[in-house]
């Protein structure tokens, strides 16, 4: 995470000048210089970085150049939106991707399989924002069924602002979550399909078939469970990506999550927010990898025997 902070911080020198964004056109050059001095932007790079990481280790995330709010508070208030979006996207991709993957593996030559596989190509190849905009215009503008932007009704539970407890919140969640999950969905499906086909050819399945194990039990208990280890690895690692790259989806749906905040911050050269965001994302990646490792143990009994 320190490495990420360092990389991010060295890149910030090239994103532009925060001072010209913070001041109006009429502000004199002298006042701009004074502000630059106050913010410590004239200090040497190493010094700025040490101050940034030092403050962060002490839990002081600084203040946004744009809104002057504490960065920790700004990011914390945006985390629920992004996490809920990411989790729902993941659930959609699993709920749809796994059954489809199993089906297409078991009936490799069916018409439905061919249709699903063909459609899934679209999911992989069309960029997220195009899918998002198409969905908005179809379901939001033409049909008027779903809201086109924002989170709809949210409920405050502790410090967590959730969309899960109102119908309005769920309605607002469907399109962005689907958009974000589409790539994951096709990936899950193709992965499950490939693994499943592999497993179905293996000896123990043939053996089980010969022994007369019921089909349902065979497919789901024996075959699918064994396909899940690599699937979970990939999906788990992808989930970090879902959180990190929800930026595009959040921008298209004006979804008030961390990604949107990051985008606004780039436009404004809000260095403190950008820095903390990247470190938080790095933290998520580490966390997700840890969870994936723990899940292995739960799924694969071999790892429990030592």
């Amino acid at each position: 995470m320190l490495a990420v902070a360092f990389l991010a911080f060295s890149l910030f020198r090239f994103v532009g000048d925060p001072i010209t964004q913070m001041t109006g056109v009429e502000t004199s050059v002298e006042d701009q210089e004074r502000l630059r001095e106050e913010l410590g932007l004239n200090d040497p790079f190493a010094f700025q970085f040490l101050r940034f990481s030092g403050d962060m280790i002490q839990g002081d995330f600084g203040f946004s150049y744009r809104t002057r709010q504490p960065v920790a508070e700004m990011i914390a208030s945006r985390v629920p939106a992004t996490l809920e979006l990411g989790v729902v996207a993941l659930l959609i991709s699993l709920a749809v991707g796994i059954p489809f993957g199993v089906y297409t593996a078991l009936r490799p030559r069916g018409i439905l399989t061919q249709t699903i596989l063909l459609t899934s190509l679209v999911g992989v190849s069309v960029p997220t924002f195009v899918i998002g905009i198409i969905l908005i215009f179809l379901f939001g503008v033409q049909l008027g069924w779903l809201p086109t932007f924002g989170r709809g009704g949210t409920v405050q539970i502790g410090g967590w602002e959730s969309s899960f407890f109102t119908i309005d919140g769920w309605r607002a969640l469907i399109l962005p979550a689907f958009t974000l999950g589409v790539y994951q969905l096709t990936l899950t499906m193709r992965l499950v399909r490939a693994e499943m086909m592999e497993v179905m050819r293996s000896d123990y399945i043939r053996f089980a078939t010969a022994r007369g194990v019921p089909m349902g039990r065979l497919y789901f208990r024996h075959a699918l469970a064994n396909t899940m280890v690599p699937v979970i690895t990939i999906i788990g690692l992808q989930f970090g990506g879902v959180i990190a790259f929800s930026i595009v989806t959040e921008s298209v749906f004006q979804w008030p999550g961390m990604g949107l905040l990051f985008l606004e911050s780039i436009r404004f050269v809000d260095i403190p927010v950008m820095g903390v965001y990247l470190v938080v994302i790095a933290f998520f990646f580490v966390l997700v990898n840890l969870i994936v490792d723990l899940l292995y143990v739960a799924i694969d009994p071999r790892l429990r025997v030592k």
Partner: protein
Amino acid sequence: MKQTFKLSASIGCALLVSTVGVSAETFRWASTTDPQTMDPHAVNSAPVLSFLNNIYEGLVRRGQDMSIEPSLAASWEPLVGENGWRFNLRQGVTFQNGATFDAQDVMFSYQRASNEAADVRSWFAPVADVRVVDDYTIDFVTTAPNPLFPDSIANFMILDQDWAESNDAALPARDAENFATMNVNGTGPFTLASRDPGVRTVLTPNGDWWDDATHNVTQAIFTPIGNSATGLAALLSGEIDFIQPIPLQDVAQVEGRDGFKVLEGEETRVIMFGFGHEHEKLLYSSDVTDANPFTDPRVRLAAAHAIDIASIDRVLFRGKIEPASQLVPAGISGYSEANSERPAYDPARAKALLAEAGYPNGFSFGLKCPNDRYINDEAVCRAAASMFAAVGLNATLSTGPVRDYWPQLRADDFDMYLLGWSPGTFDMEHPIRFLLNSQNDEKKLGSWNFGNYSNARVDELLPQIQQEIDPAARQALVDEVVSITQDEVAYIPLYTQPLIWAAKDNIELTQRADNFFMLRWVNVN
């Protein structure tokens, strides 16, 4: 087809009504940028000032046609025997927390807004002293005669002294936020009901407003929507009532649908090309590396004659721009009627001028442009580059986001550049002060004159223009500046940028030329 659309639209509306419970006068609007702060003195930027003008008020305010009218000052007159203005304050005005407004609040707001921590302090550069005469009279003494001072403080908003001091917000927030960043207490027509920065801000009418409300809004909800396609979809799906601005290419989309309208006007922003007047050589040329041909006015005039504004208008702007002859558009005070001709599109003359200046085969140079600041900025530069090339001026175009662009211009890293300028005071003096006067950090002049165009006579005329009380004499001085700078082609003014907003048909509102959106002129029918 149309029938189905209407049907589905009405189902959509019904769903909205049933789930959200929108009352008839709830007004929802969106814009690309969220105001960064609710503090009227912390940031001098249009999104903030425009938004806060609904909540706070100044001594004077601008009407629908941009004219100055009384607000918290009922009247004002020049001081007798010294330079400056006396403001007679309106009596019986209260802040939204019930406190009474008086001259002490104006004094306090002046001190707050002119403090080093305030970004708006440049407005008070001409002020020498401020005196409270009595509870409802206050004098602003200026260092020199200043006929435009009342106009220049239309966005100077008044805070309640007790409220600010008791909440530790006596100064605008510099690094950390303070109470005034998220809370308000103005005298204006609306007050803040809730704020979630970057997500949603809700305003409700101030029932005790001193002026007669002409709007019928009972609740106004503002959402920033950064992505223009999302904003358009939100309007067309009926989730918002109004959006500013919409991209030019979406105009047809909105006009083609029932129940929506596009509002078009001219912004006051003039787009122009600037030169590196004081550069000794070109930075980005492959053939002329030991000189800067643009120091020759004939070369600059040749560049001006090479531009075909009519084609740019037709192809890039669908006929929505107004060609510009000078740094402000017609209608702004100080606009020089005597100099309203711009150099005609005349490639033959451009070539002749280049030959005369010693460049019969032209030369190459670098043209810098922003790509996210003005409408179609990059496309305009591309078009201009090909027009320049037609007369032998081979521009190497480099474009970038505005956050990189200003630092490059400040570092003199250009041969020619694109700039847009909107006169903050709505007077010609503003661009003369910032763009035409020689750079002078000490006097804070010419701070956006990146190429440092410098003419001793222009520098001499600026203080006279600032101080001249007689309108006709003042106009003569302005005319002289415009005439000099046109003769010397200090800049190539191109056009005035259009202002395009979109709303539902049942919304009545006023589009003001400074792109400010005032809720007090909104009616939901």
